[in-house]
């Protein structure tokens, strides 16, 4: 920590938040809000005189509320920077009648009650998100009595009570009578691996080993303490972990396989009794303790939503931020130039956090050191004249690469090419042909559809496959020599989000009996969640087709991953059966209906155009 404070190349901004981030990989513009701490950071020498005279007493957050602090205080003794902070909510104010005592005694005049938030702008090439995690609050698990029974504490509170720097200077005592507890119970998985809607279904990774550590600390400080740990599984999977677990057992800590259903306090002794089924023996047992520690789990930071939105990141099901690839790119965010370090991505202990932090540093250095990046050539391009500024593309872009647009003011959108990853969802969603998706242009894809269907259309199935998953799944099927009928013709797009409704309707109008749109499973999409727009589009098409009397089943949607050669094969066989069931009359009818519908729309468009032209010409004629 000290090294950070004195490093010449680290500009440390504490008590600061990110207000805004714009730009893209290699070129981010960041606005940092440096909140007013009412103490001049560069002048304060931590003499502590202010604290002595401050009359306000407030709970000390760092000590989990076990002790108090003043309204002007040092967050904790080893804080970096070693500078006081004035909590404006606690402070009585600088009106001399009210208080202002701290300012009077401060020899260096560091205290400025009128200090305001400052906005600091920085330009950076890369961003490391290391926003960490929060600890689960077990109050909602009422059966464990946390906050109802004083002698039930959390593992974070335990840390402060055993710490030499804590409120009791390391003398471990129970809150009710300040006696050293002789019998201590630990309940594992509090808020983790739950299925009842409270807490979280995932394993928090650190709590088993943390309890093992706690038990050893207790045995070290107070030999002979009776310690029982109630657990579902002890997960001691890391280097040196099993050793530590065995040491704890050898030191006399009892591990009992089973999690208590409820705990009760004896109103007189304030002791805690719990009932548990020891699942290794099947026996129902009562255990009485002087104190119970809840091994609370880890949750995504409650305030991480701000950073998530600013950087267009997504979350995995557990609420932690989603990495680019769970195995091969665990440190990269899906947004270019953004990397993860620590618990923001998943619960981690210190060692894993440090490991990922160094990995994030190295990954970002690849970018920073290169000095320049080549921008994807397959990006979207705005056809300004067609853009009405409706902004639908702004909404669908998973990478915030499109900004602006105002339909009323007729201001077109802007595309930031460097931020565009080329999924093509914008081009598919645009109703005005205002976006050209380079290398996957409408005309190119339409030419493929035409070419597939210009001979024997009844014999063919038109398949749209996304590059990363479904196309690769078809590759795997071939590689594995899985055999299926030869009727399908594949059109590759980068993402299923590129598949414009007009491509599908055109295919049906050209006589396609069956059309398949295939892409990545949700959460696997290489463009964050662009395939959610695919679903919306296909669902709308199903409705439209039905209204026009066309069987919606003829348009199929499948998620096929790069690993699912088998699913590809199975799908192709099923589609072939469907194709054979489509009759020529049905196709002819479809062609007719779609042609009529298209002509109607075109006629409407045409009817509009001359009107506008006439309106323009009219005044000119009048002047003539």
């Amino acid at each position: 920590m000290m090294d950070v404070g004195r490093h010449p190349r680290i500009n440390l901004q504490t008590y600061s938040e990110i207000d805004d981030i714009s730009g893209y990989i290699g070129n981010f513009h960041v606005t940092v809000r440096k909140k007013a701490r009412y103490v001049d950071e560069s002048e304060c020498n931590a003499c502590g005189e202010c604290e002595k005279v401050c009359p306000v007493v407030a709970p000390d957050e760092f000590q989990e509320g076990f002790s108090s602090r003043k309204a002007i205080y040092m967050p904790f003794p080893q804080a970096v920077p070693s500078v006081y902070i004035l909590n404006n909510d606690n402070c009585l104010g600088h009106n001399p009648i009210a208080c202002g005592k701290c300012a009077e005694v401060c020899e260096k005049s560091c205290i400025d009650f009128d200090m305001e938030d400052q906005l600091v702008e920085v330009d950076v090439g890369a961003i490391i998100v290391a926003t960490g995690m929060d600890v689960y609050d077990p109050t909602e698990m009422d059966e464990y009595g946390y906050t109802r029974y004083e002698n039930v504490i959390t593992s974070m509170e335990f840390e402060r009570l055993i710490s030499a720097g804590g409120p009791t200077e390391g003398h471990f005592m129970r809150p009710t009578d300040r006696e050293v507890p002789k019998r201590i119970g630990f309940i594992q998985c509090v808020g983790s691996r739950t299925k009842n809607g409270r807490g979280n279904p995932y394993c928090s990774n650190i709590c088993c080993m943390n309890t093992v550590k706690d038990s050893l600390l207790l045995m070290d400080h107070y030999p002979g303490t009776e310690i029982k740990v109630f657990y579902i599984d002890i997960r001691a999977f890391g280097k040196g972990f099993e050793d530590l677990y065995q040491r704890s057992k050898q030191a006399g800590v009892q591990y009992i396989r089973g999690v208590p259903g409820e705990v009760f306090e004896d109103p007189k002794t304030k002791n805690i009794t719990l009932t548990v089924e020891d699942t290794s023996s099947g026996a129902i047992e009562d255990h009485e303790f002087d104190m119970v520690v809840l091994a609370t789990g880890v949750i995504p930071r409650r305030d991480s939503e701000i950073v998530r939105k600013l950087l267009s990141l997504s979350r995995t099901e557990d609420g932690f931020f989603m990495e680019s690839h769970p195995k091969l790119k665990p440190v990269d965010a899906p947004t270019g130039g953004v990397y993860f370090a620590g618990c923001v991505e998943s619960p981690k202990d210190v060692k894993d956090s440090v490991t990922q932090a160094s990995a994030a540093a190295a990954r970002s250095e690849i970018l920073l050191n290169a000095g320049e990046i080549s921008v994807e050539a397959i990006t979207s391009d705005l056809i300004v004249d067609n853009c009405t500024g409706c902004g639908i593309c702004v909404r669908v872009c998973p990478f915030n690469a499109i900004t602006g647009g105002d339909a009323k003011a007729k201001i077109p959108v802007e595309i930031v090419e460097a931020a565009c990853k080329g999924c093509g969802t914008c081009a598919a969603e645009c109703n005005f042909d205002a976006i050209l998706m380079k290398h996957f242009e409408d005309a190119q894809i339409m030419a493929q559809v035409d070419s597939i269907l210009d001979q024997d259309p009844m014999e063919k199935i038109v398949v749209f496959a996304c590059n990363w998953c479904s196309y690769a799944g078809a590759d795997l099927a071939g590689l594995s020599r899985m055999q299926y009928p030869s009727s399908q013709r594949v059109i590759r797009t980068m993402c299923s989000g590129r598949v414009d409704s007009s491509f599908i309707l055109h295919a049906f109008e050209q006589g396609a009996p069956i059309v398949l749109v295939s892409g990545c499973h949700f959460a696997d999409c290489h463009y964050i969640d662009a395939n959610r727009w695919t679903v919306k589009r296909v669902e709308k098409l199903w409705d439209d087709l039905e209204k026009m009397g066309i069987r919606p089943e003829r348009l199929q949607l499948e998620w096929i991953s790069a690993a699912e050669g088998q699913k590809w094969t199975k799908t192709m066989k099923e589609l072939e059966e469907m194709r054979q069931a489509v009759t020529e009359e049905e196709v002819e009818q479809t062609k007719k209906v779609l042609r009529e519908a298209r002509l109607k729309v075109e006629a409407k468009k045409k009817a509009k155009e001359p009107k506008e032209g006439a309106a323009e010409q009219a005044p000119a004629a009048a002047t003539a």
Binding site: M1, V4, G5, H7, R9, I10, Q13, T14, Y15, N27, F28, V32, V80, V83, V122, V124, G125, A126, I128, V129, A130, G132, M156, I162, N210, K239, F241, D243, A341, G342, V344, D349, V350, S353, V354, Q356, A357, S358, S364, E365, G371, E372, I373, S374, A377, H439, A447, N467, A474, D475, A477, G478, L479, R481, Q483, Y484, P485, S486, R489, V490
Partner: protein, 198 residues
Amino acid sequence: MADNDLRVGVFVCECGSNIAGSVDCDAVTEYAATLPDVACAVKNKYTCSEPGQQEIKKHIKEHNLNRVVVASCTPRMHEPTFRQCVADAGLNPYLMEMANIREHCSWAHLSDRDGATTKAKDIVKVSVARARLLQPRIESELPVLKDVLVIGGGVAGIQTSLDLADAGYQVHLVEKEASIGGIMAALDKTYPTMDCSI
């Protein structure tokens, strides 16, 4: 560019017997030659091999080709290879199109030679239709700023900041609280070494 200016070269790969085993590559090559704007259609044993690539380069020069279709394996495998190949011959790499007649055709229809051959012809035809409309594309280079932002000053933010700063980069470390340290700073000891957290 007007359509009549297009000169497409089609290179059909046998991939040893991987493609030729179930697709009649001669028939595909002959068929390719009949497609619109196709200036030459050539069959290779292994198009990705050095001689195969030389053949492409030679024909680009000889026929002044401005579009290339390589009918071979999946673009996920050799697209970079053939893009580089046509670029070496002076053609924009985005004017090369691959027709996947191996993974999606010959290997998937091993015992259906007629079906596979018909499908391979179709795949080549569709690729030529697409290739005719391809446009040159440029991958532009953008400068990268050397500074880096670290959001969060817990143990991970501290470590990554120190690593980057030690490597010579200017780091801006932004921490929400009044001190760095995060949750780690509130821990007494940490496992497995049982030493102090700060």
